[in-house]
């Protein structure tokens, strides 16, 4: 009986080689359509996946978005250039600094202003600290999704300090609007860089705890290895970026390959590496590989922060800009490496005070599209692991 059913399953279906016998699919049941979400803790926001199941097997999946659609792109056409900045905080609210940065770089590409060196270095420090914070949430809540509560608390312990650091520099804990067009809002308070250096020291000591507690934990490995495999070809075809594409074994990082700000200089100094998954625990491109990339990236971010602290210079932190900004006519696309992938801003100006078009290419939106293809053939329990491993922030998929 079991063999018969296996034959009718889609070719992507597999009983795990290491686990054959643990899962027995014996009776074909009538198809059942279930709504996963919109209010489900594992969707990390308000998203609904309509799943067709045959017993424990997912045979079809259809993500439904839009519950958190706040018309960011329409707002962009109705407010002035500088006024739009706080809205960028609100698409990927776990990496607001990076969103501010992406938008500022896109507008600066049209303006052609020169950014003071000190501002650039502070920008990189903030972006990388925010990347660490974002990966901590991604990794911690991923453990939570698949049943490990404790590592989540360890992750939030360090994230709390990171947020306190941001509170000191800009007054906000989540929606910063700190990186502005032309530079950053204000200079770091006295002692801030020293505290960042202390944070780096402590983080380096704490980091092995995540690896020991969760990443190489046997239960975790069994839940994630060989699950939700995304092949290289699929990753390219679906336009996946960031940790998703590195998790599939493709060596690609915008910070190194298309450097912006002074990442090129940091890379040439040999200060950081790009972790690329090798399929150590199972097939290349599975859920474990993606979380491995995130954990390894945190340490590389620490190295980048250290480099910036060592090369910090004195000077102004914001370029000379008029209060009412008029952006030269033209159009520019700037993509930066967000924690979730390539965050692209496509801005069009007609020379006025308001943009003609502000397009946001959210990495979560593009990464989520792959669900329709990798969920069918998985078990319902694994579906949670797969959705969690794509590390979506619904604020960004819906914008």
């Amino acid at each position: 009986m079991a063999n018969e059913v296996t034959k009718t399953m889609p070719p992507s279906t597999r009983l795990r080689q290491t686990d054959v016998g643990e899962v027995t699919v014996d009776i074909r049941t009538p198809d059942l359509e279930i709504n996963f979400g919109p209010q489900h803790p594992a969707t990390h926001g308000v998203m609904r996946v309509l799943m067709r199941t045959d017993g424990e097997l997912v045979t079809g999946a259809q993500p439904h978005l839009g519950y958190l659609h706040r018309c960011a792109e329409k707002i962009g056409e109705n407010v002035e250039w500088l006024q739009y900045l706080p809205y960028t905080d609100r698409y990927d609210y776990l990496a607001s600094m990076n969103n501010n940065l992406g938008y500022s770089l896109a507008v600066e590409a049209l303006l052609g202003v020169e950014i003071p060196r000190r501002a650039t270095l502070i920008r990189i420090i903030c972006a990388e600290l925010n990347r660490i914070g974002s990966h901590l949430v991604a990794f911690g809540t991923y453990g939570l999704d698949i049943g490990a509560f404790t590592p989540f608390l360890y992750c939030f312990r360090e994230r709390e300090w990171m947020m306190a650091l941001f509170e000191k520099i800009c007054g906000a804990r989540l929606t910063y609007s700190y990186i502005r067009i032309g530079g950053v809002f204000n200079d770091a308070p006295p002692g801030w860089f020293e505290e960042v250096a202390r944070f780096c020291d402590v983080f380096e000591q704490k980091w092995p705890e995540y690896v020991d507690l969760l990443l190489v934990n046997q239960i975790y490995v069994k839940r994630t290895a060989n699950v939700g495999v995304i092949s290289r070809e699929m990753a390219l075809d679906f336009g996946l970026t960031g940790t998703m594409v590195r998790g599939s074994g493709i060596d690609w990082d915008l910070r190194r390959d298309m450097p912006y700000m002074c990442y090129g200089e940091i890379w040439r100094d040999g200060a950081f590496k790009i972790p690329v998954a090798k399929g150590e625990m199972g097939a290349l491109g599975d859920c474990w590989d993606r979380s491995w990339v995130r954990v390894m990236e945190m340490m590389e971010s620490i190295k980048i922060v250290r480099w910036c602290l060592d090369h910090m210079v004195d000077g102004p932190v914001i370029g000379e800009l008029p209060k009412t900004l008029k952006v030269p006519a033209g159009e520019a696309y700037v993509g930066i490496e967000n924690p979730r992938g390539e965050l692209g801003h496509y801005v069009v100006s007609d020379g006025g005070k308001v943009s003609v078009r502000t397009r946001v290419r959210g990495p979560s939106f593009c990464n989520l599209a792959v669900l329709e293809d990798i969920l069918p053939g998985a078990l319902v329990g694994d579906a949670i692991a797969i959705i969690g491993s794509t590390d979506i922030v619904v604020g960004e998929t819906d914008r």
């Binding site: 329409k74 049209l110 390959d257 030269p328 696309y333 599209a369």
Partner: protein, 172 residues
Amino acid sequence: MDFQGILDRLVAIRAPGLVKADEPRKPDPKDKKDKGRAGDPFVIVEPALLASFVEACRDDDRLHFEQLVDLTATDPSKDSADLWINVQLLSLKFRHRLAIKALLPKSAAKLPSLVPVYRASQWHERECAEMFGIVFEGHPDPRNILLPDDWVGSPLRKDYEFPKEYHGISCE
């Protein structure tokens, strides 16, 4: 490859539908009305041949655009007769990008879908379709993605009028 190199290659392989290149330029000092153009260079392509054009870009071994990063549309102004389709391609192998623009008449906002070439464009096209009222012919799943299924109008068109109510809920 820089933009000029990509352009030369596109001409050499006779990429279908290539109209011309548009590069940023400084304002003309003699003409006071001329504002110039800032930003990135891009190529202009016939909308009906856009799918064949990106396919040629993907398959050529010197261009090698493996990824479609972004596909979106722009309504430049109320008076404009055209919508723009904006596509961003990326080559991981050669580390270069190409921005493509297709001018699509508002009176016949239709073009072939790019999904057979890049699966990545599937959701981008759905978003474009609902926000700008563009029809992508041959799209496998042409439902709304961010808006409700019964939404009326194309919100990102410049002539869009905000609704006064939605299902009896006042929006004013």
